[in-house]
């Protein structure tokens, strides 16, 4: 039996890697992947705590997040392709038209 704190630690590490990826990377594709990483970090925490407390709600939430993540990835990639067609780049530091 692994300690519940180990799961939470894994969850935190995954989430942290995701955050760093979102903040530091310039490639939109990588950023989307990092977002997936953050969501999955949260999923680990849901499932672990659910299993630890014997409550199915944790697992249900994890599936919910996966569904949303799938939808999000689909919409995000579609936007990305549209963006690439327009600007011929997926570097977000180049995409800074929306500013004062």
């Amino acid at each position: 039996m692994i300690e519940p704190s180990a799961y939470l630690l894994l969850s935190a590490i995954l989430f942290g890697i995701g955050v760093v990826g979102v903040v530091t990377r310039k490639n939109v594709l990588i950023i989307l992947m990092s977002v997936e990483l953050m969501l999955n970090g949260v999923n680990v925490a849901f499932v672990a705590v659910g299993s630890f407390l014997g409550d199915a709600a944790g697992g249900v939430f994890a599936f919910m997040v996966m569904t949303v993540a799938a939808a999000e990835a689909a919409v995000g990639l579609a936007l990305l392709i549209a963006l690439y067609r327009l600007k011929e780049t997926i570097d977000i530091t180049e995409l800074k038209v929306l500013k004062w």
């Binding site: 955050v19 310039k26 977000i92 995409l95 800074k96 038209v97």
Partner: protein, 708 residues
């Protein structure tokens, strides 16, 4: 219908208002498009060169000459019918009302007609109401009567004027405002009329507004009057604060009561009356606010006759007489009124000596005669003041209309140095003006003699009076006789000094002008016979007629002596008849001296006036320039105000106010300049901010839970 014709009193001001509406419609919809069309065409289009130059003369002076008539559009005939018609009808209604009032017993001659509730605010209840009593009936008859004659005269005088309908709209509006002023039953409604006549005065002085001097004179009159109106407003606040009402009957009825209970102290009465008198000095052109009246001569001459001689400028006298109950409680104010009146009378009379513009001589004469009226009020002889107001309205209106007729005959010439020998050209004007000159000079038997002598006698004998006041007033009377005869001699006698071109066209005026002159001449001669004093065997009907207005009031006042003074005939009881007759003879002698001097200087030794002026050049210069009062005001008041305003504009407006407004904008702009850097457009930056915010929030919550 218990009151009979008196129930129709509201028609008296309403009829001129009807004239305003009708003539206003004509002016707006018939005359204005026509004038605009004319103005749109360069030099009056197809009228030809001769007509073109004639139109130019109209543009600058508009006095016009007999030749070169414009074809008269039909609307002008309508205006010429409506404008005098409504005023004449108002006169008839006023006359019937006054006759109906006269049939009542002497103590019941106050008729108040409440028309509608006007202002209701808390305890301030002011209905729009009219009051006909002996005082306001005298005023109403003078205003409508003289006003009607001047309207008729105007039809002739303004016949060459393009803005004919506009002129009569203003004139009718003036009649409405003036009748509101004299017939109002409370101070506030009187003030509406007071401001209304001020507005009309402004509009009519600046009637030829293309002329810079006329437009300036209008503004000067308006501003000088506003200074006085400020006093009237404050006085009204004080009256309402003290009496809780603004209606004449209520206020004056409460005077004895509040006097006894100590609410109405002498100081309070002095404050109210001094403020009212400040208003009177503005409206009636007394020192220190008289400067606007001579400049007001820029207006058309009938306007000078109606507004600036016969009616509006006497409004101050009317108001003081109307408030006699309050004035009698304030001996200090009475003294101020008398002294200001006497000084104004002699001061402006001396200026009149050296003026060369015929209308300006009359203007200073008007200021001087108004001074007499205030002198009378100041010594408690309100009846004498109102009596002089009436006779002055007759003879001064006549003098102005006569001078207008002369100006009309001479195609706009106003300089007496370019007149002379006019007697044979304008005989009717000459005879009527001569009658008025005899009247104003105080020749026995004519109207001016009775009223002026009543004032002189009261100035001497009344408890408020003194021999000094008598002396000043008598000297002013002598000067008046001198400058009036100077005017007549320079204008009508001697050799012609006219421009030959002007002399060729010199003509007597049409009947619309000579008939009013003749009627006014009769009134100037006979108008004084209603007030022949007892000492000369008269019954002094005028005194008895006004007695209900002034006497119960005077008797109720604390100053019993003042009451006796106001009685005139009763005041004479304390003085021997010989004294009264003697002073009368003396004042006549002084007037004759003035006439004799004028005859000597301007008929016998015509070179003498220039010699005298040459011998004392400085004195002549000072008097000729009206004692440099205008220049003094310019330096002492106007420039100060202009400098102060300029300072306020540059310091306060430009720096402070604009500084706040611009500063606020600059602050927001500078802040935005810095804050906009937060929105860099780089998504990573936003994500980092989001993260930092989340970390801070979570950290704070954790910190709170750990601490607790």
């Amino acid at each position: 219908m218990v009151n009979g014709i008196l129930d129709y009193l509201w028609l008296v001001p309403a009829l001129p208002l009807l004239g305003v509406v009708l003539n206003g419609a004509i002016a707006l919809f018939a005359e204005r498009p026509l004038l605009l069309k004319e103005a749109g065409l360069p030099l009056a289009g197809g009228h030809g060169a001769a007509h073109g130059s004639h139109d130019d003369a109209h543009g600058t002076s508009s006095h016009g000459s007999a030749h070169g008539h414009h074809e008269s559009p039909a609307y002008r005939k309508l205006v010429a019918l409506i404008a005098p018609g409504v005023v004449g009808a108002a006169f008839v209604v006023a006359l019937l009302c006054v006759l109906s009032l006269a049939s009542r017993p002497a103590d019941g001659r106050t008729f108040v007609q409440i028309l509608f509730p006007w202002i209701q605010a808390g305890s301030l209840l002011v209905p729009a109401g009219l009051q006909l009593d002996p005082l306001s009936s005298v005023m109403a008859l003078v205003v409508t009567g003289v006003g009607f004659l001047i309207h008729v005269y105007s039809v002739g005088y303004m016949s060459h004027e393009r803005a004919f309908a506009r002129y009569f709209v203003y004139l009718n509006l003036f009649m409405f405002a003036m009748l509101t002023l004299v017939l109002a039953n409370n101070y506030l409604l009187m003030f509406v009329g007071w401001e209304g006549v001020g507005l009309c005065s402004y509009l009519l002085i600046g009637f030829w507004y293309e002329k810079q001097s006329a437009s300036d004179a209008g503004k000067k009159a308006f501003v000088a009057n506003r200074i006085g109106d400020f006093g009237v407003l404050l006085a009204m606040f004080l009256v309402f604060w003290t009496f809780g009402s603004l209606s004449y009957t209520e206020v004056f009825a409460k005077v004895p009561l509040l006097r006894e209970s100590g609410v109405l102290t002498t100081g309070l009465a002095t404050a109210i009356t001094l403020l009212l008198f400040l208003g009177a000095t503005g409206k009636s052109a007394q020192i220190p606010l008289y400067v606007w009246l001579p400049d007001a001569m820029e207006g058309p001459t009938p306007v000078s006759a109606l507004i600036h001689a016969a009616t509006m400028v006497t409004a101050g006298v009317y108001m003081v007489a109307r408030s006699s109950a309050l004035f009698l409680l304030a001996p200090d104010t009475m003294m101020v009124v008398a002294v200001i009146g006497a000084i104004t009378a002699i001061f402006s009379a001396t200026i009149g000596i050296c003026q060369t513009d015929i209308k300006r001589v009359l203007a200073y004469s008007t200021v001087s005669q108004l001074g007499y009226m205030f002198l009378a009020c100041g010594v408690g002889a309100f009846t004498a003041g109102i009596f002089h107001l009436v006779t002055h309205a007759f003879f001064k209106a006549l003098l102005f209309l006569g001078s207008g007729s002369v100006i009309h005959a001479l195609s706009g010439e106003q300089d007496m140095r370019k007149m002379g020998g006019l007697r044979k050209y304008v005989p009717v004007t000459f005879f009527t003006m001569f009658a008025a000159t005899l009247a104003i000079a105080g020749i026995p038997g004519l109207s001016g003699f009775f009223s002026k002598d009543e004032i002189l006698w009261q100035a001497f004998s009344s408890p408020h009076g003194s021999p000094v006041l008598w002396g000043v007033a008598a000297a002013a009377a002598g000067i008046t006789a001198f400058y009036m005869f100077r005017l007549v001699f320079l204008t009508f006698f001697g050799d012609s000094r006219m421009d030959p071109e002007v002399e060729k066209h010199a003509h007597e005026s049409p009947w619309t002008m000579t008939v009013p002159l003749s009627i006014l001449a009769v009134l100037s001669v006979a108008g004084g016979w209603v007030g022949i004093p007892a000492v000369l065997g008269g019954s002094n009907f005028f005194e008895h007629w006004l007695a209900p207005v002034f006497h119960p009031v005077a008797a109720a006042g604390a100053h019993g002596a003042a009451a006796a003074g106001a009685h005139g005939a009763q005041g004479a009881v304390h003085h021997p008849v010989v004294l009264e007759i003697g002073l009368m003879a003396l004042s006549v002698a002084i007037a004759l001296c003035g006439i004799g001097l004028a005859y000597f200087l301007y008929r016998v030794r015509t070179g003498k006036p220039d010699e005298i002026a040459a011998r004392w050049p400085n004195l002549y210069d000072v008097v000729y320039h009206k004692y440099y009062i205008d220049e003094f005001y310019e330096w002492a008041v106007i420039r100060r105000i202009v400098n102060f305003s300029t300072g306020l504009w540059q310091m306060f407006d430009a720096l402070f106010i604009d500084g706040i407004v611009n500063g606020a904008a600059a602050l927001v702009r500078a802040a935005g300049e810095r804050v906009r850097r937060l929105q860099g457009g780089v998504v990573g930056g936003y994500a980092f901010s989001l993260l930092a915010g989340a970390v801070l929030l979570v950290g704070y919550i954790l910190y709170r839970s750990v601490v607790q």
